[in-house]
């Protein structure tokens, strides 16, 4: 049986309290509502709290009602989308509702003993790296990648919590082994969707210049040395840096 840490990662103080609540919940007859933004780990937590529950989506009311009739333990996803509250009967059931949106307090009070609110990843930064490492293990398995890669928390995308974090970890692994041909294919695909207008060449030049100058500055750490290496006039380079709004760490 996997440990709780393998299922629900909790390093931040608030997450540890959530995990404690969830662990105590497992042996009680209480209905719980889990709320939080997209990707904050609501479904993962619900499955940890009740691993043997059946899962229904509230967008299909008939499915929810049918599962409530047949099963003692039910997880209802998208609870906020439910319409027929009056036909719900949770008596002698153990139900976990999941919702990304706030639900009217009267409805919460009617059905749920407790409400667990999961904060966004930006409010529990200690959880980010361990969760990213879990995604990296999954990514290595899926992409059959054997080598480990370093993960930099500053370069991981948490704008949509777990959803964007997972994507950025997979992308980071792909970055590590992408070939020139694959990169050109990606560029083609990107440009194909945007090929409109009458100044396209200049409009998309940044796709080449921006990464080139960023990497150049990282390596040479001086605009003078970089302008030599690129074979560009120093003033031209400075102008491009300004145009591209590239942050310069150390000016010459």
């Amino acid at each position: 049986m996997p440990s709780s840490d393998e299922i629900y990662i909790a390093r931040a103080k608030s997450s540890q309290e959530v995990l404690k609540t969830a662990t105590l919940f497992q042996n009680l007859s209480i209905n719980a509502l889990i709320t939080g933004p997209e990707g904050s780990g609501k479904s993962t937590l619900a499955r940890f709290m009740q691993s043997d529950a059946v899962v229904a989506d509230a967008q299909n009311v008939d499915e929810v009602l049918s599962l409530l009739e047949r099963s003692d333990k039910v997880i209802i996803e998208n609870f906020d989308k439910l319409t027929k509250y009056t036909s719900l009967d949770f008596s002698r059931k153990k139900v976990i509702g999941i919702s990304s949106k706030k639900i009217d307090e009267k409805i919460v009070d009617r059905f749920f003993g407790i409400t667990i609110e999961l904060p966004p990843f930006s409010e529990r930064r200690e959880d980010i790296l361990p969760i990213a490492e879990k995604f990296l293990t999954q990514a290595k398995e899926v992409l059959m990648h054997k080598e480990d890669i370093p993960l930099d928390i500053e370069r991981l995308d948490i704008s949509q919590n777990g959803h964007s974090l997972k994507k950025s970890v997979f992308f980071k692994l792909l970055e590590d082994e992408i070939t020139e041909g694959e990169l050109l294919l990606l560029m083609e695909s990107f440009l194909r969707k945007r090929m409109e207008g009458n100044n396209i060449y200049r409009e998309f030049l940044y796709l080449y210049e921006d990464p080139l100058i960023r990497v150049g500055l990282e390596r040479y750490r001086s605009q003078l040395k970089l302008s030599d290496a690129l074979g560009l006039n120093r003033n031209t380079l400075r102008k491009k840096i300004n145009e591209l709004s590239i942050k310069v760490l150390e000016d010459d």
Binding site: E17, T21, L24, L28, S29, I30, D109, G113, I116, E117
Partner: protein
Amino acid sequence: MIESYKGWVENDYNPFILFSSAGEMSYTNTAAELLLSYVEKKIFHDLALAYAPQDFGYKTTFMGLEYDKFNFYAITVGYEDENYIGIKLYQNPLTGDVKNSRSTISKEKSNIYVLIDLCIALASTTSDTNFKKELDPTIPEFKLSQNEFTKALRKVYDAFLPAKTVTTMLKLKIGESVKIRDKRYQLLELSIRGEIKDPGIEKSVVEITESINIKCRMQKNQVVLEIPIIE
């Protein structure tokens, strides 16, 4: 004849206290003795002095007073000489027995310590409040609706979340019981205390607790739940 009136005072449902000019208690009736086992005598002495009539005689003042589980709606303060001053407090009926016909008795046995821990952990997910526990460790499992109880208790803790420290106390109420559907049950007292309490929760908590036979007393910085031990 005069002696026969004493019995009426002694057995009055309303507390009566007679103070000497030095502030000492010269006489207390039975109801006052019970009250004074919960509340300091000084409070009533101060009250008597504050609401005494300007001259010898008796004065009744209507006001809402609340001390621990006691509620009063008026007081009469009187003195006939310089040596003694008396105060009588008019008590609202104590509703010890549960009369809510819609209340239910749960079939599930519950461990109250787990339910308290669950609600404290839940409150800690969104707050830095320091939760202190002073719990009698000998309470056995008893019948209690877990869903409704946690629903009420989490609301109580939420109401205290602005407080720096919240103290939870659990003890058996010795000698007190409650009658539910013609059966008497021993009581547990669960009190949650903090410096600040949001008063907005009161109605909803009372509604939930009444539905599971728990009596709830709301005080300024404290919520007290009297829970029947139904085995």
